[in-house]
Symmetry: C2
Subunit: 159 residues, 2 copies
């Protein structure tokens, strides 16, 4: 079967934006290659791209591409679809997960609070200021966690 691909290219602006976004995502704990793959799939005019395109557009080796994609798949930040008669997968960002992601973040805040409470439990009463500082903090964190659902709901209604 002959290749009938349209050989798209990224503009300089797109490459630059990918670079910047990549940097931000790296700050969020992602490795460079996965970060760029994520950025690419947001910036590219095509929202679904096959393995080889990703590899080519980002100048990534097959192994780096494979590992990056699989990482993002297991972290649920990517998904793929196939097209009738084609074996290869088309990858795209899973964008409907950001609400879940947010919720998880707030769960993490709750766990933080729990940890500080554990610290507090084993502290001597001889350091009341310090202990109160800690208590204030956990209290605040709990407050945030508790109020979050309302914030979500408020937004959903507004839309």
């Amino acid at each position: 079967m002959a290749k009938t691909e349209k050989v798209t290219q990224l503009t300089k602006d797109q490459l630059q934006l990918i670079e910047r976004m990549g940097g931000v995502l790296e700050g969020g704990g992602l490795a460079p290659a996965p970060a760029r793959v994520s950025a690419l799939l947001l910036v590219s005019h095509e929202t679904e791209l096959p393995f080889e395109e990703i590899s080519r557009l980002l100048n990534l080796s097959k192994s780096a591409t494979s590992n990056a994609i699989n990482l993002l798949l297991t972290f649920q930040r990517l998904e793929y679809v196939t097209r009738p008669g084609e074996r290869r997968r088309y990858f795209r960002v899973k964008m409907f997960n950001w609400k879940e992601d947010m919720k998880e973040k707030f769960v993490a805040v709750g766990q933080m609070s729990a940890m500080y409470k554990e610290v507090l439990r084993q502290r001597p009463k001889s350091t009341p200021e310090f202990n109160r500082g800690l208590a204030d903090m956990t209290d605040f964190l709990d407050h945030i966690v508790k109020e979050m659902p309302a914030l979500f709901k408020k937004w959903e209604q507004k839309s």
Copy 2:
């Protein structure tokens, strides 16, 4: 001047708790040594500890201790006090910064939103679903950022 130090020791529970907290803080982007120093100063019954104690209690070399402490100082997560007639500094966690920290986090959320908007601006109109997904997201992020001050205020009143 003779040494009249009380040679405190950490209990197994404390060491364990420090280890766990250290892990969590590392997850938050801190290196092991700074993470443990932070944890130590929260868990230790003494809220203020001098350099040498930190080094000893955590089995850290002087260089590691020095670097960890200075890192935490520049990031404003630690501060120190001196005591009359003593040259050495006593370090303690700067706990009054967590509100600021939180605010910064939400500023970061705002920047995220800005970045996604930039992506949106350069996207073709030919992918309306995708674009709407993005728009929803930025909208939500902005909503969070906007509502945050109210959440803060509500908590301050409640206390």
